[in-house]
Symmetry: C2
Subunit: 421 residues, 2 copies
Amino acid sequence: MSEELTGNVLVAQSGGPTSVINASLAGVITEALNHECIEEIYGGLNGIEGILREELVDLAAEPQKTIRGLRYTPASALGTCRFKLRREADFQRVLQVFQAHNIRYFFYIGGNDSQDTADQISKFAARAGWEMRVIGIPKTVDNDLVVTDHSPGYGSVIKHIATTVRELSLDALAMGQHDTVHILEVMGRNAGWIAAGATLAKRRDHPNDPPHLIYLPEVPFEPNKFLDDVAGVLKKEPFCFIVVGEGLVDEDGNYIATSSRSNDSFGHSQLGGAGDYLKSLIDQHANGIKTRSARLGHTQRAAATGASETDMNEAFMAGQAAVKAAIGGITDKMITLLRGDTDNYTCETGLADLSEVANGVKQLPRNWINEDGVSLNYQFTKYALPLIQGEVEVPRENGVPAFIRLSKVRVDKALPAHTFD
Amino acid sequence: MSEELTGNVLVAQSGGPTSVINASLAGVITEALNHECIEEIYGGLNGIEGILREELVDLAAEPQKTIRGLRYTPASALGTCRFKLRREADFQRVLQVFQAHNIRYFFYIGGNDSQDTADQISKFAARAGWEMRVIGIPKTVDNDLVVTDHSPGYGSVIKHIATTVRELSLDALAMGQHDTVHILEVMGRNAGWIAAGATLAKRRDHPNDPPHLIYLPEVPFEPNKFLDDVAGVLKKEPFCFIVVGEGLVDEDGNYIATSSRSNDSFGHSQLGGAGDYLKSLIDQHANGIKTRSARLGHTQRAAATGASETDMNEAFMAGQAAVKAAIGGITDKMITLLRGDTDNYTCETGLADLSEVANGVKQLPRNWINEDGVSLNYQFTKYALPLIQGEVEVPRENGVPAFIRLSKVRVDKALPAHTFD
């Protein structure tokens, strides 16, 4: 494989945004500028969907301060998509776009589905004899990508949640007898990584600190056990603080709550998420207990102010590493994060086959969850604590964050419009 | 009135906590230490309810670094209550506690109801011939206290919300066509001050920035107009960002949403708050539009990280001013914040009669709301923008905020237990 492949870069973002996904984009752009074999640095708008539309922007035309500002600007600055490439015609179109713009380096920042897309594009281009390098860059608040120790985006979301739990639990404590059960619903449709992160709010050597109960998708939910859990906490503590992942499932593996109105296994009609469901159980089955609930929604993955500096730096490093690997002749791989085996946390990058990442989902290890099913043990804390260290400093304008926006200088289209159906 | 009234201080906190209520407590303690006529500085636990129980702590025994830490520690460090003094026996009990501990200075940090309590205690003590000074210190995220230009706690909550809106709107923008209506429910049961603050997320000279629609309790809610509003925004913008105050009311003045299950005017059963209700209207009456909603709950009033430095400083100043006023012979007043009439924002303290504050509710001026009923004009921005300037720096431990906790050294009880009924 040629070490000196000359041509243009295309980078795009896919899937749900995170606080630090743009730091990876900044890493790609910053590193790409170092290599003479890279001529142009293009961004694809709205992931593969915009690439099909040949909607490319010239990232080298962006002011340097904009690229620096990407590090602390949340959400996908290039726009994102959840489009799945299926038709042969779509793969051909992607290749035509690559060829029309001499794309020799393609970097795709995303989660499982995005890595699958990158893998298929890589293999399609190889079969067609178009020499190029395709590298995936991991991104997901869900932390469910396999092979990599953790994923950029995860550290920031759990730092935000642990901070929120610590703040909110002081509020709960202050209110004394008045509000006795507090419920915080967090993201995590398929794995409990995010909800588990709330345990980092506990002070060292204070296992009874909030959150008292953490409900994870990994542990089938039993309403009667839940009510017993709450009663047990309220016997010992002045209030009960619950964190629940949105993807809670019952013993049959069905979601406990759906976003549309439905009937649950108790025959209760419900609207809203898992937190609302837990609230309704308490309201209906536990007399005299007041409940308060909050649902952070997408605010948690967009919370750039107070994001993890470690996470941001690693996201940037992953973007840089992708370019370095591609320049070095690597293709069809995803950048991974490797944890050093020393006592002091260290992190460097590695590589995994795109196909391996595309087909796996990393579950929260069952032996990191205590037998009670509602708390995490020291192994989780040891794993997660290094990921939330340091705070991203976001510049302000008029008291609110001064995020940047790409000027998005369009690259002239060379192809006719694509038909999607 | 004697200028040199020698005796002890009692300070307590009441009502819903804020991010900066403890800064006022720190102001009281710091200033009280400067005056030789003040012998002991006691805190009452859980507001007037704890005072009835004679639950006092010695605040002068707290380490200095704890007092400094109060400035950035959210929620009422002394605990709070929503207890209303009604019975003659309760007033007598309060006086007995004051007499037993030689309380000559009573500072009560709270909102309308708390100022009412302070007023009644002040008048009861005067009638009983117990010489003392009673000063209220304003506190409320709701910003609905009269006379004062604004209330400590308000600037921080709207700074948090404006920041969240700015972050979340980048997430919404990135998602492109995928999620078209985003709803953020914020606090504000009786006034729209908090929801209005979301408008500070807009960039200067970008009136079409999110939030596109702000629904306030001051403007009776009409479902059909709401659906028209949303459709109108979606014609022009790639997504629609809505902020709604929890206390939204219909044309008859009834709350649109209640925290318990009920039927709305459309005959829909519902669970949850105003945001869920708006979501259900869209889900049921606007085909093909996806909705995402978040409910910040009490997290917004506890968000000390990223709180307004201006707000924190003014909260501290209000606590100091209360002590200075009392030492100077003033009683039965609440500290107010007065805005200078210069172009550059300045703020100093003033005084208002407790009785005047106790009976008033400050509404958001109708002429600060545009005719469309869903946006605020420049007068609101001019008012609110200075209140969110500067950021509170919260020290961290292990990546999460290192808040302080009072050691709460108990003062020996001198009285028999109080019976509450």
